[in-house]
Each structure stands twice: as structure tokens, then as C-alpha cells.
Amino acid sequence: MKTANMIRLIIDSRLESVSLVGSAVRGIANTLYIDSTTSYQLELCVVEAVTNGIKHAYHGQAGHSVEIDVLLYPDRLTFKIYNRGKSMNPAKVAPFSFDPSNIETLPEGGMGVYILHALMDEVHYETINGQNILTLVKYLKKH
């Protein structure tokens, strides 16, 4: 495996700070000849992951740090999102499903994990020594 270039982003666990991470991810994507829709989708996935961590791992409380490592390899982009809050049980995430013709079934939440799996090539979640690590990998197309 070739050595990656790495950028580490650290924010406080406040929803108002998540857009800083999103803007950084979009800026990085823009340097990699990635089209604008894919750039948006990368930003979306990292924003969803960081937001989920703040809402669920830290119950929306400020004062904790959320770290995001962005690793650039020649063939892929990897994001590692770290927090030390409450762990998630991926098996307990409800599947995303609704009937577009039935207004009562439309979801107002619970779309984040579905979005990660739909847009990323790899999604891993693990907890090591109290640290939750969500890894997102996107393979880059060759030019």
C-alpha cells in the first residue's frame, strides 16, 4: 500500500461546526478532478457521519472533540471519523424503506446510514478502547 497524504480535521461537537468539515472535504475533492456531484456526495457522507456522531454519540452536547482524518491514496479517498461517545450498534439501524405514494410512510430521519452505504464503496464501524471509528472509502476513477 502506498503511503497516503493525510489531513486531520478537529472540531468541537457542535452542529454549527460541521459545515467547516464539509467545506474542507469539498475543497479537497475539488483538487482531485472529482466532478461537482461526487464532491457534494463526499461532503454529504462526511457531514452525515460527523452529525450522527454529535447527535447520537455525544447526545448533541458541545465540549467534545470529533476528529476526521482524510487520507488520500492514488486510487481512493478514505475518511476516518473518530469520537469517544456512545457506541452505535450497526445491526440496530432500521432499514430505509417507504412507499412514495403513501405520505404517512415518508421518513423525516434515519436516512444517514443509508446514504453512507449508497454512496461510499466501503463503510466500516468499530470501537477500539472506547474510541468509535467510522471508516468511509471512495474509490477514485482513473483519468
Binding site: S19, T37, T51, I54, F98, P107
Partner: protein
């Protein structure tokens, strides 16, 4: 969150003047939409021309307004940027919402409905 709003006859046009509708602004957006719906607005055009980022929280807030209106009116969307449109497609919300290229088209479509 800045939301420009004006009425054209009985249609309320809402245009967020922010580039993002995300988890930090979704609650406020939802509250304002609820207030407008509670005060009798049943036909709403949401113009997303200024918005270049929506996450699932923002999308959930839009869906919330749509559900609150229910079958007593409609909430339609117009001028959606291609990147944002990809979220509507991914979540199949393009099959739920009527989405128009221009505000005029949205207004005409909504005015034609009983």
C-alpha cells in the same frame, strides 16, 4: 436562517437565502414552515435556487412540511441544483415531490390545482 417569503395570490413562495440546509439549521427551517402552514398556507413553492448543500436533516425538515400539509394542499419544489437533486434521487424523494425547473412553472402547476 434567512428565508425570503412572499405570497402570489394564495401561494406562498419560500426561498432560503442560505447555501446550506443542514442539521444546524433544519430545526429552525422546520419551525418556520410549521408556522406558515399553521397560519393557513396550504400551497407552498420552495425555491432552492440559493441552496447548494442539503443533508438528510435538511431533507427531513422539507419532508416534515410536506407531510404537515398532507392532502389539504401541496408543497412543490423548484430550481434545484444538480448536486442537491442527486440527494432527492438517491432517497427517491424525486418520486414524492413535484420538482420544477423554474418558479413560474411551479406557480402555474400549483395554481392549476384545486
Amino acid at each position: 436562517m434567512q428565508l425570503k417569503h412572499n405570497n402570489v395570490e394564495d401561494v406562498l413562495i419560500v426561498r432560503p437565502l442560505e447555501k446550506r440546509i443542514d442539521a444546524s439549521t433544519a430545526t429552525e427551517f422546520k419551525q418556520k414552515m410549521n408556522e406558515w402552514i399553521d397560519s393557513g398556507n396550504r400551497r407552498i413553492v420552495l425555491n432552492l435556487s440559493e441552496v447548494d448543500f442539503i443533508d438528510s436533516s435538511g431533507l427531513g425538515a422539507i419532508i416534515s412540511g410536506f407531510k404537515k400539509i398532507g392532502n389539504n394542499g401541496n408543497l412543490v419544489i423548484c430550481v434545484v441544483k444538480e448536486s442537491v437533486m442527486s440527494l432527492f434521487r438517491l432517497t427517491r424523494m424525486n418520486r414524492v415531490f413535484d420538482i420544477y425547473a423554474s418558479e413560474n412553472e411551479a406557480l402555474e402547476a400549483l395554481s392549476g390545482k384545486a
